[in-house]
């Protein structure tokens, strides 16, 4: 009888410490959306090169190849992190079936973030919008990063220029390499420096000098 009690106590203690050990780690679903176009440089490495780092932080990582805006925004509501790498335009991302993921409802094809109830993205630690000019604000489509943070995401980032697929793939890898242990802003600085070293001066300029950043960049995602 005494032995049983000791054994039970031992199990409870170890299980408790095990969960304590995990309490610091990130958890939840981290979604990475990309668009594989035949004949183009692959955008899939945005997912494959980041998933190891994200798994190591404790996330369950999911890659989605080309969903429409409605499916995407539904997934965003329950995601702990969100990355998208597709064609873009000011304040919007181009999605499957001629739908748009937008800051505001610029036209009938938009599924806009502004329309969502407050707190819809409260689980989301970061949203990264890779695509050409998605970081530009327009009166019609809005500021996609501002709208994302306004709905509860901790931070959001997008670019105001034409982005290049291989540069994005590498910047993204470097960002998650750093944020495995450090803050979002440290991730930005690390990725900016190293994308210039690894890919070239033009890539460094493009990724470093043309961002729209919203939310708390001093937060950690790990």
């Amino acid at each position: 009888m005494k032995n049983k009690k000791i054994i039970m106590a031992l199990i409870l203690c170890l299980t408790f410490f095990g969960f304590l050990n995990k309490a610091d780690a990130a958890s939840g679903r981290f979604d990475i959306h990309y668009y594989e176009e035949p004949g183009y440089t692959s955008r899939k490495p945005t997912y494959t090169k980041a998933m190891g780092y994200l798994s190591s932080m404790g996330y369950s990582v999911y890659g989605y190849d080309y969903l429409d805006a409605i499916q995407t925004i539904e997934k965003m509501k329950t995601a702990a992190g969100f990355v998208i790498h597709m064609h873009g335009g000011p304040g919007r991302q181009y999605m499957k079936n001629n739908t748009l993921l937008c800051g505001k409802k610029g036209d009938a094809t938009c599924r806009d973030i502004n329309f969502l109830p407050r707190g819809s993205f409260q689980k989301m630690k970061i949203a990264i919008y890779y695509g050409c000019e998605t970081g530009i604000t327009t009166s019609s489509y809005g500021d996609i990063c501002y709208e994302t943070v306004n709905k509860g995401a901790t931070a959001a980032v997008a670019w105001k220029v034409v982005t290049k697929i291989d540069e994005v793939n590498e910047w993204n890898r470097l960002f998650f390499e750093k944020t495995t242990n450090d803050t979002i802003v440290e991730g930005y600085r690390h990725a900016d420096y190293w994308v210039r070293a690894n890919i070239g001066n033009t890539a460094g300029d493009r990724m470093q000098n043309n961002r729209t950043e919203r939310g708390n960049i001093y937060a950690k995602i790990n």
Binding site: H87, G89, V185, D205
Partner: protein, 274 residues
Amino acid sequence: MYKYKRNILIAVLLVFSAFTISNTFTANAETINKKGVVRGEKNDNVKVEKDISDKYIKQKNIVLDNSFISLKLDQKVFANSKNYDVYVDNNKSEYLFENEMLVGYVKNVDLSEEKIKMSKEQFKNKKLSNSTNPYQDIANATALNLLPNGYSLSDYELKSVKFVDSYNEFVYNYVKHIGRYESNDSITIGIDLNGNVTSTLILDIGKYDNIDVSSIDEEDLNKFIKSNMARLHGNAEYEVENMVITTYDSKSVINIYIRYSENGTAGETFSYYI
């Protein structure tokens, strides 16, 4: 006795299971960070070797800005025909060596919210020196120091000065032009608001000096762009944003950066061998 042994066995199994479940993610972290000798996929441009074996010299001492710094080899990076040996100091700052030459460093700086806010506040009205542009003076002096013997800063154009608001740094970028083309031969200096140099990077110094741009057949170059755009993007409208002489697959190329419209705005890059 049998019951007692069975209970012990069940207990051991349960403890083992609890440990396995609770440590799954931690175990993943270790696999990625320690085991990954070559990370990435088959056709990657960039590979990182983290496990530094004994075949490499692991330590190095340098003198930088009159300071003696001890460095330890941390990783090797193989990036688009470049091989960087990346050393770190005690403060986790990184130093990049290419063919044993220091080509850059990035200091590990305090980027906490308090520090960034304090720096912005302190330097709102403060003048760093009597110079009209003290940051540029620092950038110029640093760039000059970085250039190997025989190279002159006057061969470089100050292409851009940007202030990166999120991490409080001025970024000075100097590039060398080869004929009418910009090149990847460049110098980049990061300076914080206190005037401290926080990062440096020199790329491809002197590498394209011997390229004879007059031999580049511009008609052929334009045909190359046109035919490839048609092949990949049909009748999409496009414009050439810029062209830069650089290296791809160990060969000198002109990288052509294109902006086009097709299901939104998009970018394309071609490399034209020269």
